[in-house]
């Protein structure tokens, strides 16, 4: 399997993952993306540094999956 790149977007700030990581199965890629998004979002939401976190996972030029986590506080 080619390496997967996990690009992180916090509101408008983009942090590109140039190195990438290898995984033996697709399910592990999904887990890594969801868990990464959740833990980055936890810090960002608590600190108020962003209210939307996207983990954009790409393999080569192809998008493999995209996780979006956003904060909505009502009232």
């Amino acid at each position: 399997m080619p390496p997967f790149h996990f690009h992180i977007v916090e509101d408008e700030r983009v942090v590109k993952d140039e190195e990438g990581q290898e995984f033996s199965e697709n399910e592990a890629v999904r887990r890594e993306a969801v868990e990464t998004g959740a833990s980055i979002a936890r810090d960002a939401f608590i600190q108020g540094s962003a209210s939307r976190v996207i983990v954009d996972v790409r393999s080569g030029d192809q998008q493999f999956l995209k996780v979006t986590i956003s904060l909505t506080v009502e009232g």
């Binding site: 996990f6 992180i8 942090v15 993952d17 190195e19 990581q21 890594e32 993306a33 868990e35 990464t36 833990s39 980055i40 810090d43 608590i46 600190q47 983990v55």
Partner: protein, 264 residues
């Protein structure tokens, strides 16, 4: 001819004795250096610790030393290299609980807690000295001061775990990483392993993730942020401090819990 042979044999025998005595001394060096700084160890105690019989073994990175559930009959003194203690959940997720440097005896508790409740694994290539429980028990009974020093050592170990819980439970991930790095640097300083801004830090991003309870992708994100903010630069197996002031602010570090002086 025979005589020459005999001389050769006895010379090599002497050399062997000399080198094993040297080995024993060098194996306990980091331990003695550390205990002299952190605890009230007198010269007689040092001689006692140095006289402990030590079996020296070399380990590869990622090798188990003792495992959860084992009933060890010896304790492991790190002479060279880094080790970690960890526990793994039933679904295979590993939490690194502590990182250990030369001069430490990470499983000293096994002298009194007979079944090990976690894993002890090498992180890098290691030179380890194994000291039997029988001989440790004997010297702690003979030399109460040595017993107190070892007791204090396991208490400092517990203090470090309390700090680790606060770190993992309460700090944001970048602060958590900064805190782990500053703590390790303080412990490496005691044994003379920090010269200048760059020092050994052999954890991979995955292992940092296991220590901090986050994914390696998240660690990667933090490593980039710390580099872009000119705070820390990570290299393969080491780290350089670029901005000491910012690092300390981020780490929220008060080294009291390391009790690195006998008066603390």
């Amino acid at each position: 001819m025979l005589e020459t042979g005999k001389i050769r044999y006895s010379l090599s025998f002497l050399l062997q004795c000399w080198s094993s005595a040297l080995t024993n001394e060098s194996i306990t060096n980091a331990l003695i250096t550390r205990l002299r700084i952190t605890s009230a160890l007198d010269d007689h105690d040092v001689q006692t610790v140095r006289s402990l019989p030590v079996v020296v073994k070399h380990y590869q990175p990622g090798q188990a030393i003792v495992r959860d559930g084992d009933r060890p009959t010896e304790c492991c003194l790190i002479s060279k290299g880094f080790c970690v203690r960890s526990k793994t959940t039933s679904n295979g997720r590993r939490q690194i609980l502590s990182i250990h440097v030369p001069g430490e005896i990470p499983d000293l508790q096994s002298l009194h807690l007979h079944a090990l409740d976690h894993d002890l694994t090498t992180l890098t290539e290691c030179t380890l000295g194994f000291i039997s429980h029988v001989s440790l028990r004997e010297i702690t009974r003979r030399r109460p001061n040595v017993a107190e020093v070892f007791w204090r050592d396991t208490l400092i170990d517990a203090a470090m775990f309390r700090d680790w819980i606060v770190n993992v439970g309460q700090r944001a991930a970048p602060n958590r990483l900064a805190h782990i790095i500053v703590e390790l640097r303080e412990r490496l300083k005691v044994i003379g392993m920090v010269q200048g801004a760059r020092f050994e830090m052999p954890l991979t991003q995955e292992q940092f993730g296991e220590a901090m309870g986050i994914t390696s992708v998240h660690v990667n994100r933090i490593v980039k942020q710390l580099r872009d903010d000119n705070i820390l630069e990570f290299h393969r197996g080491s780290v350089s401090v670029i901005d000491e002031q910012k690092l300390l602010e981020l780490a929220d570090f008060d080294g009291l819990y390391l009790h690195q002086r006998p008066s603390l």
